[in-house]
Symmetry: C2
Subunit: 372 residues, 2 copies
């Protein structure tokens, strides 16, 4: 699959090609201060920055300065921080502000923060007055390589993660690598889980590169981060461009996620970070792939070693006495279950993933083998 | 505009042409018992009927019988009745059921009821797992001629009507005219307001027909109802087919609605029926059109007379001491306001509508002249 991706120079934005919904992803250091990416902002009478209590004090002023010349009114909504706030009541705070400020249907929402801020803001934009434009300014590695690209937006429901949402593409994504300097180490690791993911599913040459550059990535060397974010966005752009609404191919981006969501739901959202759960989920999914004959034990060990080196947990938590049974129960509620039938993103070989059925008994074995 | 609409025979469904989102509208008596329309249902493991406490006891069993042969599981959610329940908490009852029943992303939602049920169910379908298919089975005249066709879905926010929603087209609309027999007289009149609307904006020959058949419509003669519903759906199909997301032409369907929404919001949702507010709003919009030179006083009187004969109020309620000021304030929050600038659907001539600006002072005069 790797050979089909175009390689762009550092200066050019990565483009998501979706006909009239196409948009650029700018990646680089200092972009919150650079004029270039912001020329892509849609015109409107007002822009509303949505951020959280952690990120807003660091970067909101810089972003406001960029927007003030462009919009007659710039408002800011500051949400609480954390996955446990990715719910209706937080979403409604955005709607409250939009309506109190008499924002019309051209108003541009701008998500400044990690995946939670991006997902909530995107869904607010998808549903305010049946749809207004929005822009992603992801400030975590996870959001830069995954959640802010591709138009998936959602909030959680007490009975399931990301159960209420919409496909709604942003008009522009700006990844300022400087914002990653303030990221806690644990969140950097969680982001690396999604970076690593792109190797097994699409590009083993990139996997080799990550292995070779892991120390530089953990040390946040800008050129290393830029290379990782760019390649992830290129791969995601190619996948999303061919399957915007996840009818098939796009599901491969969920490698590790079905198991990972069960971990998040089973422990309670926010206990483990999403990337941590996905990292563990990838070990499970790779082990399942091995049992199904797609990869060998050495590959599973290699992936596990890289995840561990990135600072990620590689053993799943035990959920209740009937551990594997509880995992299966939680996975059945997941969106990927189709007619009650679970399907798994597995590796057909290193660098190529596909959606497959697997017998419950085999999955139970895999889960129990991968839990602490 | 009238000449551009194809005339279908009674037996054929009206088709909304939106490429891969096209769908048929079946109109006739006894359709809840007829097999034909239901052949269009999408395949799935489960269907969920969403209805309310008033409609479910009358028709849910009949609909369940039609669906049982088709879906392994058929669930029913019964919501409270009324515009005041068109909110997040009611919407969430649908999500609760969908998740408790482990409904997957192919699950078909079926809205059985009036506009409120249709709008909430449509938005639930738009956002559950980022979109599942749904079917409209409208049981009020208003829903049959307007809200169930065209894919606009929404819930209300305390600060504005229909502020949170999505464009999400149904897969099928089934208008069983038998269900109109149980409709309270006041709601039939409210539906006639939207029927009458299609005359001034698109088809004066239809307006003549309504005048000639008003007694039969009020008496619920099936052939008269069938003719009215069909023609309204044909006109709406043509408009929506050319402007799915209300970027221009589609706005003409909102004739009377900007004023009407102010009435509903000003009195509190549910005080006046939507159709009643729209009826009054059309008198205001027609009066504004007269002041702008599009129609003459005789036309405004003719429209007013027909609305009154349909059992509708034709004088707006006074809202607060500064009546017209309060109307304007409420209208500015409305979705149609663009950058704080209000635009009005006005008649350029009988049978043709357009979106226009109008000076506040003129609008104030019109409002005060049209209020009790």
């Amino acid at each position: 699959m790797a050979a089909t991706f175009a390689v762009a120079t550092q200066a050019e934005p990565v483009r998501i090609e979706l006909a009239e919904r196409s948009y650029p992803i700018f990646i680089g250091a200092g972009l919150l201060r650079a004029p270039e990416p912001w020329a892509w902002l849609p015109q409107a009478a007002a822009a509303v920055i949505v951020s959280n209590v952690t990120v807003a004090p660091l970067y909101a002023q810089r972003l406001q300065a960029r927007l003030r010349g462009r919009y007659p009114a710039v408002h800011t909504v500051v949400l609480p921080d954390g996955e446990q706030h990715k719910n209706w009541s937080t979403l409604n705070r955005i709607f409250d502000t939009l309506l109190q400020q008499h924002c019309d249907r051209k108003t541009v929402l701008i998500a400044l923060g990690g995946g939670v801020v991006g997902d909530i803001t995107g869904f607010a934009a998808a549903s305010y007055m049946r749809g207004v434009p929005y822009v992603q300014v992801p400030t975590t590695l996870l959001a830069q390589v995954d959640s802010s690209v591709g138009g998936k937006t959602a909030i959680n429901h007490p009975l399931g993660k990301n159960m209420i949402g919409a496909f709604h593409q942003p008009r522009l994504v700006v990844c300022d690598l400087d914002t990653l300097r303030s990221l806690p180490a644990r969140e950097l690791s969680a982001g690396l889980a999604e970076v690593i993911k792109y190797g097994p599913i699409a590009d083993m040459a990139f996997f080799d590169w990550i292995e070779a550059n892991l120390d530089a990535l953990v040390a946040r060397v800008p050129t290393a981060l830029a290379g990782a974010v760019r390649r992830c966005c290129e791969i995601k752009a190619a996948v999303v461009g061919r399957d915007e609404r996840e009818s098939g191919l796009r599901a491969i981006l969920n490698f590790g996620h079905t198991f990972g969501h069960a971990i998040e739901a089973g422990l309670g959202y926010g206990e483990w970070l999403h990337g941590e759960a996905v990292g563990c989920g990838m070990v499970m999914a790779a082990t399942l792939s091995q049992r199904l004959g797609g990869v060998d034990a050495a590959f599973v060990q290699r992936l596990t070693r890289l995840l561990r080196a990135a600072g990620l947990p590689v053993k799943g938590p035990r959920l209740a006495d009937n551990n594997a049974g509880r995992y299966l129960e939680l996975m059945r509620v997941d969106k990927k279950a189709d007619g009650g039938k679970l399907r798994y993103v597995v590796l057909e070989q290193p660098g190529r993933a596909a959606l497959r059925d697997a017998p419950d008994a085999l999955v139970r074995e895999v889960i129990d083998a991968c839990c602490a």
